[in-house]
């Protein structure tokens, strides 16, 4: 039994199943982070002593800026990997994907040292203040998203790579979907960065 339109786009909607699926998933993710941002706004406006950004709250803006650059760069490498696949250059695609994984891992490593400096260095815990609570919760959840993305990238680079030989179209569809997810994770960070570190 064949599921229709799992590779070929549907003639009316112009989409394969997975792409519509990933977009609906991202829509739910928007609402998930929306819930957190809504909480952030409510808590922040209700608290006159809310720690402000730029070192006032003890977070490391330099490292975070560096991390922002890493994530933006990883977004570029993902879209490059997708473009390479479209041009039938699997070797180049692999290179870009590994670069993405490296950048993402770099992000997590920097984040780890950031957490360490905050918890061990400054003695800041989620329970210290709601700002740090929401900081650890949101960046933690964002970090989990990054971890998930890395896992999927590594899967398609190793065990899942044979799909390119058997069904190249399905493979590039998959990479496009992971890519969309990855860009979304990037966008979330683009909003988290000013909300937590700068403002």
């Amino acid at each position: 039994m064949e599921i229709p339109y799992s590779v070929k786009p549907h003639p009316v909607t112009g989409l394969a199943n997975a792409k519509l699926g990933i977009w609906t998933f991202l829509a739910s993710e928007v609402m998930l982070f929306g819930g957190f941002f809504s909480a952030y706004i409510l808590l922040r406006t209700g608290d006159p002593d809310w720690p402000r950004g730029l070192a006032n709250n003890g977070l490391d803006v330099k490292l975070a800026t560096f991390n922002t650059v890493l994530l933006i760069a990883s977004s570029v490498t993902v879209v490059m990997a997708w473009a390479a696949l479209k041009m039938n250059d699997f070797a180049k695609c692999k290179k870009y994907l590994w670069a993405t994984v490296a950048l993402a891992a770099g992000f997590l490593v920097v984040k780890f040292f950031e957490y360490k400096a905050e918890i061990v260095g400054h003695g800041i815990y989620p329970s210290t203040h709601n700002f740090y609570g929401i900081y650890f919760t949101m960046t933690g959840l964002h970090g989990l998203h990054i971890l998930g993305g890395i896992a999927v990238f590594v899967y398609f680079l190793t065990f899942g790579a044979s799909m390119w030989k058997d069904e190249p179209e399905r493979y590039s569809g998959r990479i496009e979907c992971v890519g969309l997810y990855w860009h979304f994770v990037d966008i979330v960070w683009i909003f988290l960065f000013p909300a937590l570190y700068l403002l």
Partner: protein
């Protein structure tokens, strides 16, 4: 996407351009926050505006939203429309204060007339605590 390799090649240049723009804006937003030439609401507005532009660039070009299929637009517009009440209504509710400012006597009657101890209600306890803390906060502003 049924783009031919030639068209994709043209896109590559755009991607690098967007990359540059994103980096510039990241620098800009850090600098703007660091210079303190704007404070309070204006600084927040600027920071969020830059983030929105960055997000839009990523969405429009990296995620190819600039030329997507109708059904995806439908899903995303629906999400965006429902995102607005999620952001706004809680904060509007908490800040809708006229009633709260004249509330204290009413609240005291409520607190006294409320059977404590035997009533196992979770909701009453929560809302009651909350009404008071809200009143205090609005008083401080």
């Amino acid at each position: 996407m049924a783009d031919s390799p030639e068209e994709i090649r043209k896109h590559l240049k755009v991607y690098w351009l967007i990359f540059g723009a994103l980096l510039v804006m990241t620098g800009l937003t850090v600098m703007a926050a660091g210079l303190h030439f704007l404070t309070g609401a204006a600084a927040i507005a600027l920071g969020l505006a830059i983030a929105t532009v960055k997000g839009t660039l990523v969405g429009a070009f990296f995620m190819h939203l600039a030329g997507e299929k109708k059904i995806i637009y439908f899903v995303l517009i629906l999400t965006a429309v429902l995102f607005v009440p999620l952001m706004l209504l809680p904060i509007l509710t908490v800040n809708d204060t006229p009633y709260r400012d004249i509330a204290p006597p009413t609240k005291m009657i409520y607190a006294e007339g409320h059977g404590e101890g035997h009533d196992s209600g979770a909701a009453e306890g929560a809302t009651h605590d909350d009404t008071e803390s809200e009143g205090e906060q609005t008083g401080e502003h």
